[in-house]
C-alpha cells in the first residue's frame, strides 16, 4: 500500500465504522485474552463458527475474538452486540443451545447470563453489571469492541487521528502544553509527570534519540500492561509515535516480558500492520516525520523494569541499574537521550491529544488526574481488570466492582504496588486512589496490582513472600539491597519457624531503614515497604508469632500443631479423605485424630476443614 494521508485515514474510518458500531451484523464478541484462552475460548470460537455455518446464518453473524474483557473470573466470556448481552462461564456443550436461543429464536439464554449474587436477579446487559457499571474505561475504551489484530477497526474508533493531529497540526510545544494541562503522571509506579520527562528529552540536542515503552511488567499480581497490549496494541504504538514526534526521536523499542507470548504476538502484528499502512516508517501521513520501532524481548529479570537496568538490558548486558543523574532523558540508551514510559501511560496519550489536556484533567484529584487501571485479584469475587477515575475509594473498588470477599470470611488487607508497595488494612478502606494519599498510607500506587487478602492470610508470611521475591530478584550490584534483603528474609524465616525474639522486630525496622536510605535503585529503596507496612498495621500478628508461638491465620507450618480440636470437629471426615499420607484416623461419629508420625504437614487437612477444627 502506498503511504497514506489524512484523507485515506478518514475513508478507512468511515468504511469500517459499521464494524465497531455494530450497525450491520450481529457480532459475537468473544474474549481472547490470556485468561479466557486458558479456559478454552479458542475451542469455543471454533464451535461457534461451526454451529453458525451449520445453521446457515454466517452472513448475518460475525464471530470476533477481542482482547481481554476484564471480567477474568468468569471466563470464557461472550458479549452479543449490538444488544450488549453478556454470557459467561461458557462451555463447549452450551454452544448449540446458545446459538439456537440467542441467534435463531432471538431470546437470551438465561442459564448463562449474569446473576447478581445479592439480589439474585438476572442482569442481561453488560453495562448493567456492577463490575462494569462502576468503571470508567478510557485506556480500556476499545475493550470488547475491536479485534486487536485489526488496524482498520482501531482506526474506526478514531485510532491514529491523535497521531495525525500531532504530526500535521501541532508543534512539539503544543503537544507538551496539552500534556502539561492534562497532568498525566507515569503509570508505572513512581508517578513522574510525563510532560517534564518529554520536555527534558526534547531540549537535548542530539541527532539520535529513542522512545522506549516499558512493558516489563514484573510485579507479581499485576496484569494491566499485558491486557492493554493484548487488547489494544495500536494505542501504545500511537502513544509512542506522539512521544517520538514531541522529542524528535527516530527509533523506538517496546521492551516486553518473554512470559507474555500472546502480547508479544499481537504487538508484532500491530507493528507489521502499522508499517503496511505507512503509520510507521518514513514520511508518516505525509508529514516528513519518520519513526520506526521494534520489540525487545526480556529474559526474565524483575529488576529490568527499572529504567536504567532496562536500557542496559537492551544494550545486551546484565540488566543492572546505574546511578542517576544523568537521567535517561539526557543520557539513556547507548548514551542517547531517551524517553521511557510505561504501557498504560502511553495508551493515555492519544486520548489527551484527541480530547485535549483540559478535558483529561477534568477527572481525578488535585494532583492525580485521569483514570487508573488496576488488576484486582486475590480473595475477591470478581477478579479482573478494572479502570476507575483517580480519587475512587479502595472500598468502592473492592466491594462495588470486586463484589467483596467470597464466603463469610472477613476482609483483612489489600496489597498495593507489588514488592515495592505495602498492605493497607481495613481502617484505610476509604483511602482514595491518589499517588500522594496511597504513599502516606505506607503503600505506593505502583503499576496497579491490587491483591485482596482475607483473614486466612498471614501477614508475616506475606512480608516473607515479598522479601523472598526481592532477595531473589536483587541484581546484586549494591550491598544494602543484596545483603540487607537476605538478612531480613532470615529474620522473617526465624519468626515463622517459631524461633523469633522480640528484638527481631527492632532489627527489622533498623535494617529496613538502612536499605531504604542507601540502596542504588528503586527496587532496593522500596524493598522494605512490605515489611514496614505489615509491622505498622499488624504488630500484634508479629508478636503472636514471637511471644505465643502461634500463627493466627494458620499459614506458618512450623507453628501449626496439626491437632484436631474435638470441640469443633463435626466428624465429617473431609480431612481423612484428603490426607495424602494416611495420617488422619477417622471413624464415623468420632472426632478425627492426626498421627504426628505420619503427618507430612502438607496443610491439606487445614485447607479442607470447613469448621476450623485443626489447630
Amino acid at each position: 500500500m502506498p503511504a497514506m494521508n489524512l484523507q485515506d485515514l478518514q475513508s478507512i474510518r468511515e468504511a469500517n465504522r459499521h464494524r465497531v458500531e455494530f450497525t450491520r451484523n450481529t457480532c459475537l464478541m468473544l474474549c481472547g485474552g490470556t485468561g479466557c484462552r486458558s479456559t478454552g475460548s479458542l475451542e469455543i470460537k471454533e464451535a461457534l463458527q461451526k454451529e453458525i455455518t451449520t445453521r446457515g446464518i454466517q452472513d448475518s453473524v460475525d464471530v470476533v475474538e477481542t482482547g481481554c474483557n476484564g471480567f477474568c473470573a468468569r471466563g470464557p466470556i461472550l458479549v452479543v452486540q449490538p444488544h450488549d448481552i453478556f454470557y459467561h462461564n461458557l462451555t463447549l456443550q452450551d454452544i448449540p443451545e446458545l446459538v439456537q436461543e440467542q441467534l435463531v429464536n432471538n431470546t437470551p439464554l438465561q442459564r448463562l447470563q449474569y446473576k447478581d449474587p445479592v439480589s439474585k436477579q438476572i442482569l442481561p446487559r453488560q453495562q448493567d453489571i456492577p463490575f462494569f457499571a462502576h468503571q470508567l474505561p478510557w485506556v480500556l475504551r476499545n475493550r470488547g469492541i475491536i479485534d486487536p489484530e485489526s488496524i482498520d477497526q482501531y482506526i474506526a474508533r478514531d485510532g491514529y487521528f491523535a497521531a495525525a493531529r500531532a504530526l500535521l497540526e501541532m508543534t512539539p510545544g503544543d503537544i507538551l502544553q496539552q500534556m502539561h494541562k492534562s497532568g498525566l503522571r507515569g503509570r508505572g509506579g513512581a508517578g513522574f509527570p510525563v510532560h517534564l520527562k518529554w520536555k527534558y528529552a526534547s531540549e537535548e540536542k542530539s541527532p539520535v534519540k529513542y522512545v522506549v515503552c516499558n512493558a516489563d511488567e514484573g510485579d507479581p499480581g499485576a496484569f494491566m500492561d499485558r491486557s492493554i497490549l493484548e487488547a489494544n496494541p495500536h494505542s501504545v504504538l500511537e502513544g509512542m509515535l506522539i512521544a517520538a514526534r514531541t522529542v524528535n526521536a527516530g527509533h523506538g523499542f517496546i521492551y516486553c516480558r518473554t512470559e507474555y507470548p500472546l502480547a508479544l504476538e499481537r504487538v508484532q502484528t500491530a507493528i507489521d500492520r502499522a508499517r503496511e499502512y505507512g503509520l510507521l516508517g518514513s514520511d508518516i501521513l505525509g508529514s516528513g516525520f519518520q519513526f520506526d520501532l521494534e520489540i525487545y524481548q526480556g529474559a526474565g529479570a524483575f529488576v529490568c523494569g527499572e529504567e536504567t537496568a532496562l536500557m542496559r538490558s537492551i544494550e545486551g548486558g546484565r540488566g543492572m541499574p546505574r546511578p542517576r543523574p544523568p537521567f535517561p532523558a539526557q543520557k539513556g540508551l547507548w548514551d542517547r537521550p531517551t524517553v521511557l514510559n510505561n504501557v498504560e501511560t502511553l495508551a493515555n496519550v492519544p486520548l489527551i491529544i484527541l480530547e485535549g489536556g483540559d478535558w483529561y484533567a477534568g477527572v481525578g484529584t488535585e494532583h492525580s488526574k485521569g483514570t487508573k487501571v488496576f488488576a484486582l485479584s486475590g480473595d475477591v469475587r470478581n477478579i479482573g481488570l478494572v479502570e476507575v477515575p483517580m480519587g475512587t475509594s479502595l472500598c468502592s473498588i473492592i466491594y462495588d466492582i470486586g463484589g467483596g470477599i467470597p464466603g463469610k470470611r472477613k476482609f483483612k488487607a489489600v496489597q498495593l504496588g507489588g514488592p515495592s508497595g505495602g498492605c493497607v488494612p481495613a481502617e484505610y478502606l476509604d483511602l482514595p486512589v491518589d499517588y500522594e494519599a496511597i504513599s502516606r498510607a505506607g503503600a505506593i500506587m505502583g503499576s496497579g496490582g491490587m491483591i485482596v487478602m482475607d483473614q486466612r492470610t498471614c501477614m508475616v508470611d506475606m512480608a516473607r513472600f515479598f522479601m523472598d521475591f526481592v532477595q531473589e530478584e536483587s541484581c546484586g550490584k549494591c550491598t544494602p539491597c543484596r545483603e540487607g534483603t537476605m538478612r531480613i528474609l532470615e529474620i522473617l524465616d526465624r519468626i515463622r519457624a517459631g524461633d523469633g525474639v522480640i528484638q527481631d522486630l527492632w532489627e527489622l525496622e533498623d535494617l529496613s531503614a538502612t536499605i531504604r536510605d542507601s540502596s542504588l535503585c528503586g527496587l532496593g529503596q522500596t524493598a522494605p515497604n512490605p515489611v514496614l507496612s505489615t509491622l505498622k498495621y499488624f504488630p500484634k500478628e508479629y508478636e503472636d508469632h514471637i511471644r505465643n508461638k502461634k500463627c493466627p491465620a494458620k499459614k506458618c507450618t512450623a507453628l501449626v500443631k496439626f491437632r484436631v480440636n474435638a470441640d469443633k470437629c463435626t466428624s465429617c471426615g473431609l480431612c481423612h479423605k484428603n490426607c495424602p499420607s494416611g495420617a488422619v484416623h477417622w471413624k464415623k461419629k468420632q472426632p478425627a485424630e492426626i498421627d504426628p508420625q505420619k503427618c507430612i504437614k502438607c496443610m491439606l487437612c487445614l485447607d479442607n476443614c470447613m469448621f476450623d477444627a485443626i489447630d
Partner: protein, 173 residues
C-alpha cells in the same frame, strides 16, 4: 580466525564436542550467530535462540558463542547467568511452571509446589533423572484471574488443586 568458522563448511573443527548438541543443531547455531554478528546488543537474542535449539546452554556452547561473536566469555556467561530464562543445566522434556505470584500465593500455590516436589522428588529448578519433568516456579504469569495457575509446556491451567496438578501431569511423558 572468525572468518574460518563460517567458511569451512561442514567442518566442526572449532566446535567443541558435546553429547546434547547434534550436527543439525550446530548448523542452526551458526546461522543464528551469523545473523546477529552486526546487531548491537545481540547476546541475549543469540542465547535465547540457541537455547530454543538445544534446550539449554551448556558451558561449551557459551564459550563457542563468545568466541564467534568476538566478545569475552565472561560477558556471555554474565548474561546467561543473570536472566532466569537461561538454564545451563539440562532441562526436562516437559517444563512445569507453577506460578508463585502474589495472587496465586494467597490462593495456595505453595501447596501445589510442595506436592509436586514431594511426588517427583524435585527441587525448584531441578529436573527428574529421566528428564521427564523440570519443575520451575515463576513469578507471576499475569494469569491472576486463574489463581492458582500452572503452566505445563505452553498450556496454562487455572484454578488447580494439588490433586488436579498431579492428574494433569500423568499425561506427559
Amino acid at each position: 580466525m572468525q572468518q574460518n568458522i563460517f567458511h569451512t563448511d561442514n567442518s566442526d573443527y572449532f566446535r567443541p564436542a558435546h553429547r546434547d548438541i547434534t550436527p543439525g543443531m550446530w548448523q542452526g547455531i551458526d546461522r543464528v550467530i551469523q545473523e546477529c554478528l552486526d546487531v548491537p546488543g545481540a547476546v541475549t537474542q543469540v542465547l535465547r535462540r540457541c537455547q530454543d535449539l538445544v534446550g539449554y546452554l551448556p558451558v561449551e556452547l557459551l564459550d563457542y558463542i563468545a568466541h564467534s561473536l568476538n566478545i569475552p566469555a565472561s560477558e556471555v556467561f554474565g548474561v546467561a547467568s543473570f536472566y532466569s530464562l537461561f538454564s545451563m543445566k539440562p532441562r526436562g522434556r516437559n517444563i512445569i511452571r507453577v506460578c508463585t505470584g502474589t495472587a496465586c500465593h494467597v490462593r495456595g500455590a505453595d501447596l501445589i509446589m510442595r506436592r509436586l516436589k514431594q511426588t517427583y522428588h524435585l527441587e525448584d529448578g531441578s529436573t527428574t533423572p529421566d528428564r521427564r519433568f523440570t519443575l520451575e516456579s515463576v513469578r507471576c504469569m499475569g494469569a491472576c484471574g486463574l489463581a492458582p495457575a500452572m503452566n505445563i509446556n505452553q498450556t496454562a491451567h487455572g484454578h488447580i488443586t494439588p490433586d488436579q496438578a498431579l492428574k494433569l501431569l500423568q499425561e506427559y511423558y
